[in-house]
Amino acid sequence: MSNDRTPETSQLQQFIQQERKLKPILLMTHVVYGYPSIEDSIRLMETLLESGVELLEIQFPFSDPIADGPSILNACHKAINHRPQLDHCLKAIESFKQRFPNSRILLMSYLNPLYRYGLSKLVKEAATGVSGLIIPDLPLEQAEQYRKDCELAGIDPIWLITPDTPESRLVQHCEAATGMLYCVSRRGVTGKTDSQKEDSKQIPTTTVSLRDYLGLVAEKSTVPLAVGFGIRERHQITMLQGLADVAIVGSALLDAYDNGGLRQIRQLITTLRGKN
């Protein structure tokens, strides 16, 4: 849980804390830029923003997304066929930012496309529309310059932690964290595995219970906690209330979209919010 120990609180963190005063938990939805087409992906983002999700995580696709499971992997590979360009993606985000001031946008990508673009340049340019950056294959150790750039640009670099992260390393991450912490709730990639094997009635965890895990993180951390991987149903979100500030929905969203388009998306968001 967030508290106010940090001296200068980031925009994103402030936003989340503000919203949390009104709601027991926020929703962060995950979409892939360029899937199923550039245009359609933008329409999907608009739909989500219109439906009022607090946080929108936009994944700029990479050919080799090693931390993603089948749904997102497939979406990325399809998206690449439309030759997505990072600068166009940033432009789109900028326009969302203006049109949907009640939401915040996070850009997620693997390192290589950003690196090819120039990571410092990207951070600077992204600042106009993006509140936080998520780069799953950029570890804290390799990120000195990146963190400086982010600070300068006023963007939060979002760090991921997992139930396997040793405590000493958790502390490091918590110290480095600004904006929010992205807590992976279990081993493995996005989407499938546990959540599909074990009839998706529970939030999957590893050995430690989710409660203990998030409790420990909250203790060490001063920023809001977002919990991701495997969330498909309303009751999973309910369970998270009181443990985290943000519930992240990724693969489930993609699957809904693939099954029933924007209509199904609106339906899913409504369901997840518990409004029906």
Binding site: S63, D64, I66, L111, N112, D164, T165, G188
Partner: protein
């Protein structure tokens, strides 16, 4: 390598946070094992008893005479158990897995060589084994899949992306993020996050150490030049690293020239550019993917590209950070050999020396052949024959166009359908 696994600006460890613990455990265990003489003894013993090391250095008088230049010697990694240098690495990592107390290995494979090597060592050490292999590669290289299954390994077809090595590698990494406490990811070449490049290169460096000793025995000097094919870079690292500080020994890496320079037609990452010219218009360019920083074949947006080589083991999209660094520092000269020249070199070695090299290794031969006539007769040149070519019969038969082979297969199938 520095402590963070960097070779110059290449290498490092760029992995999802979930893998951090296992990566650190591996790093620690590997370092300890390196310093543990009983581990080193066990390693050396298994290399000898199971894989038949040392492999010989074979003088090639006929070919030397034919080319009329330097004297040619072949380092015979084809004589390893499983028929390729891949065995050195799986023995090393396999013993490390035992040491770590893990019960299962995960491997990715392209053509299937590393898959078979992994399945072999798993059977030998009593480990479970899951091999990820692109669905297209499975189709093309089914005989290898057959053997992996017979050896008790689970072979998982990877249907994403181009359905080849790169996708298999991604999928193996995904398995590892899921299973790392009980499973070890046995990478087959000197790529991936630290300590893999260093570790694989180290396990392979037995090749170069033997070569050094055998050169002294056979021609009383270090070789003037060493040629090796470069896919991921493990056989090249293996034979070259022990010569790194012997600056008089020229090191030449040969990569897959394929059919031409169009994207998807080759796997030329290094030889057509100097890494300094960081332009994406070059064939390969710096990138960070699959866990490490190196030179990759990629487009302007940083998307990794498709590759091609007649030798399935050379069509990797990246390259070992150790190789990228040595090339950048001009300690290693990279050249490329095209498919047709490779087939020529392959046939030359068969006809004149009675040795059937893997098509991967035939790249090293082709590269050497293109330069040896210009070298003085007094020079001694070592070519690394990283593997044997029996496995390549389907590719070679297509390339030389032998209709009898097709007829044989038809007959076998007719027979098989009847019974």
């Amino acid at each position: 390598m520095n402590n963070n696994g960097y070779y110059g600006r290449y290498g490092g460890s760029y992995i999802p946070e979930i893998l951090y613990t296992s990566q650190q455990q591996l790093l620690k265990e590997y370092r300890q094992a390196q310093a543990d003489s009983s581990f080193q003894l066990e390693l050396q013993q298994e290399m000898q008893q199971f894989s038949g090391r040392p492999t010989p250095l074979t003088p090639c008088r006929n070919l030397s005479k034919l080319l009329g230049g330097a004297q040619i010697y072949l380092k015979r990694e084809d004589l390893n158990h499983s028929g390729a240098h891949k065995m050195n690495n799986v023995i090393g990592q396999g013993l490390l897995v035992k040491r770590m107390g893990k019960k299962r290995i995960i491997a990715e494979t392209g053509a299937g060589q590393h898959g078979i090597a992994s399945a072999l060592i798993a059977a030998r050490l009593g480990l479970e084994c899951t091999v990820y292999m692109g669905a297209k590669d499975i189709e093309r290289q089914y005989p290898n899949v057959f053997w992996m299954k017979q050896l008790g390994a689970e072979v998982v077809p990877v249907t994403s992306g181009g359905q080849t090595l790169r996708d298999a590698l991604d999928e193996a990494l995904r398995d590892w993020t899921d299973s790392h406490p009980s499973s070890h990811y046995l990478i087959g070449t000197s790529c991936g996050c630290a300590p893999y490049p260093e570790m694989v290169a180290k396990f392979q460096s037995v090749i170069g150490r033997e070569t050094k000793e055998q050169s002294q025995q056979l021609f009383n000097a270090l070789p003037d030049a060493v040629y090796a094919s470069v896919g991921g870079g493990s056989n090249a690292c293996g034979i070259m690293l022990p010569f790194q500080s012997d600056v008089a020994v020229e090191l030449i890496g040969v990569e897959a020239g394929g059919r031409g320079t169009k994207p998807g037609d080759h796997a030329v990452r290094l030889s057509n550019n100097r890494a300094e010219t960081d332009s994406p218009a070059m064939l390969g360019s710096p990138g960070i993917a699959q866990g490490f920083a190196s030179i990759f074949l990629q487009d302007e947006q940083g998307q990794l590209q498709e590759t091609h080589s007649i030798a399935a083991g050379l069509d990797y999209v990246g390259v070992s950070p150790i190789i990228a660094d040595l090339a950048e520092k001009n300690r290693l000269r990279m050249i490329a050999a095209k498919d047709d020249k490779v087939i020529e070199a392959f046939q030359l070695l068969l006809r004149h020396e009675g040795i059937i090299p893997a098509l991967e290794s035939a790249h090293a031969v082709a590269g050497a052949i293109s330069e040896i006539p210009q070298r003085p007769k007094e020079q001694n040149v070592v070519i690394n024959i990283s593997g044997r070519g029996d496995k390549d019969i389907f590719n070679v038969a297509s390339a030389v166009g032998d209709p009898e082979f097709d007829r044989f297969l038809s007959r076998y199938l007719d027979q098989s359908l009847k019974t």
